[in-house]
Amino acid sequence: MNSNAMQPTGQAADLSVQPALVATILLVEDEPVTRASMAARLTRLGYRVLEAENGRVGLDVARRERPDLLVVDWMMPEMDGPTFCEAVRRDPLLKSSQLLLMTAHDQPAQIAEGLVRGADDFLSKSASKQEITARVLAGLRTSRLVRELETTGDELKSSMLLLEKKQAETEADLQTAATFVQSLLPPQGSPVHGIALAWEYQPSLTLGGDLFGVMAIDEDHLGLYILDASGHGVAAALRSASLMTFLRGENILQLLGSYDPEKVLFEANRRFPLSADGDYFTLWVGQLHLPTGSLTYASAGHPGALLSSAQSPSRWLTRSSFPLGFDPSARFTNDRLGLKSADRLFLFSDGIYEVPSPSGELWGRDRFQGVIDAEKQTSLSATIAACFSKARGWQQAHHFPDDAAVVGIELTGGPKGTFNG
């Protein structure tokens, strides 16, 4: 390698700078006397000067040293100045370098060609000290700016990559949580002999806050509930999962001895007060006595229970009541009714009926009720599928803005009119 760096000879530098901040200039010039002269003049100005006697060597040194400025002679054998500039611009490592092309004469045509082929500025070989200083300073200023931009660009890129990675991790975590919550929902199919169960659940986000349960409490009783957490997002979903855990059959049985709805609500009301932000639950609880078909139920502000009988019009099973946490001393009252074979009980979240049409009109509970009534002859799961399909048709969109859940149970034992499995 034939380049040699001229060491500062101890002459007074015009710029008093800390060694670490001295700019590096690479001089590419084949003629030795010119090279020596220019190198000396630049060194005198306080810069660290590297020399290369031809373009090929110049590129090597540039890649290794990453100089702040490259001063290049126009006319050189093998690789002339403009060709060198083109090579620099093609090199991903060097392409944003500051290139000063040295000319013997200032010809406009030459300057135009130099610019097109990649030079940033020009310097006459016979330039005065002032002119050299001015050109070099301008070039170094630009070089510094370009480097700052590149660093910021790089930092932005790594920040973006980091963000994307974290986002992917969060999505994965949410998905894991969602899968777990889904696993707590009742399995499809019959929970006990004589009862058919079907449900469909479309959380608006990965994690949903409207949850439900259907479970055998003991050999004679089936427990059911549907809950809704106020608010949206992960926080609401987490609170729901927490209440859901409380409402597990084994837990309630151990705590209260039965799944008596008014007792369950009383207890839940005590244990789940308003949060510091005013968050709360609405909850509907039912207990079905399997041998007799007697349904006991109570609600804390949740209006989503509908009874559909073969022979009578469907009816809402709800009364005006406080959501959990509104009144810490609230008492809840059971209602009772007898279910018969082929009767269907639907529990559902407001997300299935509070869907707006494109013009903003809500589908509403009445239309939902209409679908339940219309589908009496079809299977339970087909009826539920029809609810979702009609709701989607109404809003003319596939995705539900709020968690949409519909759970249906049907009494399947014995001839119609009796229920004694």
């Binding site: 106020s230 608010g231 949206h232 308003l274 932000d277 005013g278 968050d279 709360y280 609405t282 502000g301 209006p303 005006s320 009541s321 406080f322 959501p323 946490g325 509104f326 009144d327």
Partner: protein
């Protein structure tokens, strides 16, 4: 959402304008806190200019009512629009927080 505070002889009236929702809870909470600091015995929330209250908004009203009760103070609601009134009925709010149609009635109620 904007809230203006008015002082009456028997309490403070918050004139709420906009939607009482999750997004605006900060503004509402701040206004309530400010009224509380004055040792107000009766806070009247005027919902005449409120078109919409979501579940978070309901929860906030109840929360405020509960916290005022703890201080032996009172919260009332004034002139809810019909849609808002319906939402509040479904959650049984009237049993918890008195609702008035006229400001004089609300102010009188506390005095009683």
């Amino acid at each position: 959402m904007q809230i203006k505070e008015r002082t009456a002889t028997q309490g403070i009236i918050l004139d709420v304008e906009g939607d009482l929702t999750y997004a605006n809870q900060g503004v509402f909470k701040a206004a309530v806190e400010k009224a509380k600091q004055t040792g107000c015995r009766h806070l009247i929330v005027n919902l005449e200019q409120v078109r919409f209250v979501d579940s978070a908004g309901l929860g906030l009203l109840v929360l405020v009512s509960q916290s005022f009760k703890q201080l032996q103070a009172q919260v009332s609601i004034l002139k809810p629009q019909s849609y808002v009134r319906e939402i509040m009925s479904l959650a049984n709010i009237p049993k918890l927080i008195p609702i008035f149609e006229r400001e004089e009635d609300a102010l009188m109620a506390r005095a009683a």
